[in-house]
Symmetry: C2
Subunit: 389 residues, 2 copies
DNA sequence: AACGTCTTCGCAAACGTTCCCGATAGTTTT
DNA sequence: AAAACTATCGGGAACGTTTGCGAAGACGTT
């Protein structure tokens, strides 16, 4: 009773094993393998019935028009009769049509999404940058997906890969302190995906960058300390492979040299300033035989840690110890006599990078790589004001 | 010389206008319209040559196998010869293949992305929640896209629409203070997209919620004030359409009543506490003829504003005025005598919501809606410590 | 020889859009 | 009346995957 599906023969059929639960046959005459399901498959086909979302095709069918017409109507394109358009729009509303962005993305090969990779979240700096960028991107109709490299080069690489796979339209990135190789970034250039670096930038790659005037800011901060009569100023700096750390160190040195202060190498400490590290370094500096009379720290949390330790040790601020931080965290305005610090325009950084990426995404024309330097502001508070000025 | 493309006739051809730059003809015999481009189209086809990214098809072609084989090899599926797989992997590396997540998303109808909508960014509360959720989601291999409703119901609706269009796998949302209608949320239920509410929740919709023990926290905070000898305690509350505001007000009232304190209605102010509003309300309260001897504010920024104003007016804290805030912002530890406040487990809130949405995304089985209540902690500082306890 | 098992791979249909072309018909100009 | 123009609409390829199902052998077992 089994007929070959090709030659319609019945005699020369022989069994040839099972495949996925179905009997398999071989026709000896035409030498053709074929299978025949024993059970009806209706049950399984019912099983995998998925939740259906109304598509353009549904609208087209129910209106008796073509997909293209519906698509045109939905997008207010030309070549469409106003009545037809209205009918489509009504039907879309009635069927609760929600466009499938995924299909759109695939065909257009763009996602209306900008990616952002930041090294960490724990200082308020990056969250604020995100807020600024988010505002600009949202207003321009773009989404923002954020990833966190956690200061790890390997994670940064996997982040960029994920960004590539997700076909973001542009990338905003602030580098890891471990990042010394930039191949994972040049991939974006090759792919024609715009890229903007901010804060943690590098010189080795030729893309737009947004930074602040770290050198100048440090210079002014240290000069401010000197003007207030501090002589032996220590520097608590960040890891030296970061450009920002180098620049801030340069500013410190320049100010010291300009005013003829001797720079004592053991008073310069560079490294990743976790809270624990800040305490250790602070301990070291404050217990020094010939202890510094001021400390310029590269972030506010370290500066505050120093202030707390000084308070514990009975060292008065600003009389016996001047302290200056960097970034103007919210708590810096309220602690002790107030922490003098360098305010970074965080929102502005976010807005600027976002503005820039939007330009690059929209314009196909290559815009020359440029470094945009935003201005910081020295906020003078009690922790460094010793001369009444 | 023009032949009809159907009947091959030459004589009965006549011109019939232009369409998009091409001459159009009509064959009179077979009554058939057709066009014939005058210029060669090679130029234009070269023009629109797009940047090509290597696809699975490229690998398949260069290896002489089929797409399916490549796909299976790339995903470590079964039914694949180890040698073939290795060849595919090598070729993929060689051609710098990056999978196209968009195509994957389309065919799988999922995006590996969780959406999050928050009303605002300016308090550190939501950024911290984001950090917690981000951590969990990243570890689980999910992306996070964040949108901001800006406390506007309309924006919230458009946000949810965008989330739907982008086919997120799950949504975390904290509602706007304007949100009284929840149709835009029930859409997610209908679509089978899991939803978790946090912080700004509502009772009208039956989904998992993550909140803190607002009532209890308020109760304890006010009781703490009473224990410290404060009698006439004012309450600076949030907008009353928010459940959190209602709960905190309830806690305030309960504590006052339990200890037999009279609740004076003009000492309860509810509203959106911007910095400006906080100043206005604070002014009002502190200038009252029979001024309160303590203020329980519903967030720290308002409490701090009160403290600053008290300082300006020469009202001593905590002797003449006790102040308690809510949320434990970073600056609260450092201001004046220290601000007593209710610490919210922000990271934990983020982690919990994220954990939950991941469960819902993975399990098709419906988990019963449940409200998870996280514990707050009363952080006692100088602004309310009057009895040495 | 007849039948069963196992491994490996290809075909082709989705997934839901967008958009290039051309088709059709009515109207206007030459 | 021929030619041109205008306004609408449909067909169908493309976007790059995944995956169900079957094909083609090789080999083992009665």
């Amino acid at each position: 009773m089994i007929k070959c599906v090709k030659c319609e023969q019945v005699d020369s059929i022989m069994k040839a094993g099972y495949v996925r639960g179905k009997q398999r046959y071989l026709c000896k005459t035409c030498n053709y393998y074929f299978t025949q399901s024993e059970k009806d498959v209706s049950a399984s086909s019912v099983m995998k019935r998925r939740r259906h979302q109304t598509t353009i095709i549904d609208i087209a069918k129910s209106l008796g028009v073509s997909n293209s017409t519906v698509s045109r109507a939905l997008h207010g394109h030309a070549d469409i009769n106003p009545e037809t358009r209205q009918a489509v729009l009504d039907k879309a509303l009635q069927l609760d049509y929600q466009p499938n962005q995924l299909a759109y993305n695939l065909v257009k090969s763009k996602t209306n999404t900008i990616g952002m990779i930041v090294p960490e979240f724990h200082n308020p700096f990056f969250p604020n940058v995100i807020i600024g960028a988010h505002e600009v991107l949202t207003n321009a109709g773009y989404n923002l997906t954020i990833m966190q490299s956690n200061e790890s080069y390997q994670v940064e690489i996997s982040n960029t890969k994920a960004m590539l796979a997700n076909r973001i339209d542009g990338l905003l990135i602030s580098l890891t302190q471990e990042t010394n190789n930039f191949d994972h970034l040049s991939v974006f250039e090759k792919r024609g995906i715009p890229l903007v670096l901010f804060n943690r930038v590098c010189e080795q790659i030729n893309v737009p960058k947004v930074v602040v005037n770290d050198f100048e800011a440090s210079f002014l901060a240290v000069e401010h300390l000197i003007m207030n009569g501090y002589e032996r100023i220590a520097h608590l700096g960040g890891p030296l492979n970061l450009l920002v750390s180098q620049e801030r160190l340069r500013g410190y040195r320049a100010a010291m040299e300009k005013h003829g202060k001797t720079i004592e190498d053991h008073m310069i400490i560079q490294g990743m300033l976790t809270q624990q590290k800040a305490r250790i370094y602070g301990q070291y500096l404050l217990d020094l035989a010939n202890r510094p009379d001021a400390i310029f720290a590269v972030n506010d949390s370290s500066a505050i840690e120093i202030m707390l330790m000084a308070k514990e040790k009975g060292i008065s601020i600003p009389d016996e110890l001047g302290v200056v931080g960097f970034s103007d965290n919210p708590e810096s305005a309220y602690i002790g006599p107030g922490l003098t610090t360098v305010r970074q325009p965080t929102y502005e950084i976010g807005r600027t990078t976002a503005d820039w990426i939007l330009q690059l995404v929209d314009d196909e024309d290559v815009i020359l790589p440029e470094k945009r330097v935003l201005k910081t502001e020295l906020i003078v508070r009690g922790s460094s004001r010793r001369c009444g000025n």
